[in-house]
Symmetry: C2
Subunit: 308 residues, 2 copies
């Protein structure tokens, strides 16, 4: 048990991320008390039933009162509204942070509501699963994953350092990044891939009428990995695309160009073009394994154990 980094932490929104944060905070003893609030009565009820948060409050204002750290864990599109709601109740000197997948939009939506005497330090933990809701969280979710801090102009260095320590205590590796750069990098590594996966799964669903349940039955051939990505929370992802519109559309535009070039190579039988392209992309996988972001263990035969 380490010394608490904050006396009181308030989690606003009690989904996968907040619930995982709570279990990780408890695991490491990072806070004296953790309060929680969710807009849905059913979610608050579930949270109380499973012991999620030391105290579940019936209003966001009640939850943030006296909190040294307030973390907004709601969909990106709801951040501004929640910030406006809690602003009058924030303790002087408190830090307000968030876990949104988009940063420029959150900064623009939240900043105007916050009083001068609180520190705003936006953050984005790069972790998640395809499940959502208060019961999907687990303490290990952030272990050895990245959490990006995106300090705004005038972010107090001491408040940033403290939040960094907090996320490290949760198990994450912490980096700092500028908001627009964050949104571009995430458009490449996350937002565009998610939209593409959603699209491919939607196409397959249309075709199910042609092929009955075969698409599902034989999904292990590659499609399965798309469905896992495309099973992520619809509200969260709707908000991500709407609030990181420019970067996402930019990347999708490049994607479409490249896809058309590969389609043309298929149509014209240009095997060399395809071979060279696939050889190049294969090398990138090596980089990801070397960077410790995945293992080299074969994954397509899930459940199978490689011969040693």
């Amino acid at each position: 048990m380490s010394t608490p980094i904050y006396d009181r932490v308030a989690l606003i929104g009690l989904g996968l991320i907040a619930s995982s944060m709570f279990w990780a905070i408890k695991r490491a003893g990072l806070a004296g008390e953790v309060t929680g609030y969710a807009r849905s009565e059913e979610t608050r009820h579930t949270a109380r039933r499973i012991g999620l948060c030391d105290r579940v409050c019936d209003s966001a204002i009640e939850a943030v009162e006296g909190a040294d750290l307030v973390v907004l864990c709601v969909p990106v599109g709801a951040m501004g509204k929640v910030a406006a709601e809690i602003a009058p109740a924030l303790k002087s000197g408190a830090t307000v942070s968030d876990v949104g997948s988009v940063k420029r939009h959150v900064i623009e939506a939240v900043s105007p509501h916050l009083p001068e005497n609180v520190h705003f330090v936006p953050a984005h933990p790069l972790a998640g699963t395809e499940h959502s809701g208060p019961e999907s969280g687990f303490a290990e979710l952030f272990d050895n994953r990245w959490c990006l801090l995106v300090p705004v102009e005038n972010s107090d260095p001491a408040a940033v350092a403290r939040l960094r320590q907090f996320w490290q205590g949760i198990g994450a590796n912490v980096d700092e990044m500028e908001a627009d750069h964050h949104d571009l990098v995430l458009a490449v590594t996350s937002h565009a891939p998610h939209l593409i996966a959603y699209t491919m799964v939607g196409v397959a669903d249309d075709l199910r009428r042609v092929t009955d349940s075969e698409v599902i039955k034989y999904s292990a051939a590659g499609f399965r990995d798309f469905t896992r990505i495309a099973a992520s929370d619809p509200t969260m992802w709707r908000d991500v695309f709407l609030s990181n519109k420019d970067a996402t559309l930019e990347i999708l535009g490049r994607f479409t160009e490249e896809l058309f070039a590969l389609q043309r190579a298929i149509r014209t039988g240009d095997g060399q073009h395809l071979f060279d392209y696939f050889t190049r992309t294969r090398a990138i996988r090596r980089g990801i394994i070397d960077a410790g972001q995945d293992t080299a263990a074969p994954d397509f035969g899930r459940g199978a154990t490689p011969k040693t």
Copy 2:
């Protein structure tokens, strides 16, 4: 140890699939002797070194002599050439099969070369990993995965039944399917998803010049799963796309249409369209888990263990 189903099996081409077949054949005692041949001397040398095949031959003809079952495990584009090469040496009454990811093209490329007195029973085991080569195989690769048999006109029912028994002994579940239907289903579940993953990884590689190594460093946010798919064997996949051209382009055409509709929804801020689409695709995931093709265990936080 069960009774051997074939006295002698010949594996032509010694990559991931053939080597996994060999270990699975040995595990279950499905053949008296397994011979093997690979075009590359280096591969034959590796095979001999690791004990892959009871006998590694220096020519395809030598390998197939006296074999009751010959399995072509070469890239789809090489099937015709190999069939022509081995045809004169095939034993009367032998069964010739393959493991190609495309079936109509293989049937058209192989059939004309085969003598009247052999049985041709094309097949496609839906299993693999992102690794390739003779050392990447393991006996469990096909366990509880599907193997699709695609009998041609005049395929001898007894030969088909025997091959089914063989693949079941290897560990697979076996289904039969018509060639064109196979190629359409696989275009949806495998070929289009692979091309899309290759494309997205290629786009990210271009952008690496902008974002340095951040694309790799933060790949866990979704992109990582694309890179695994896009690390598959370039030669194999070049041949798949060139030989299943029509079905793949048809599915990619539908994909592009849907992607454009989603891009427009993002551009115009049509959140309801996005939300409805993502809700629909999420349901498909449930179907795949119910069908036993994947588990519900959260996978995005790879290496993390859910709280129980």
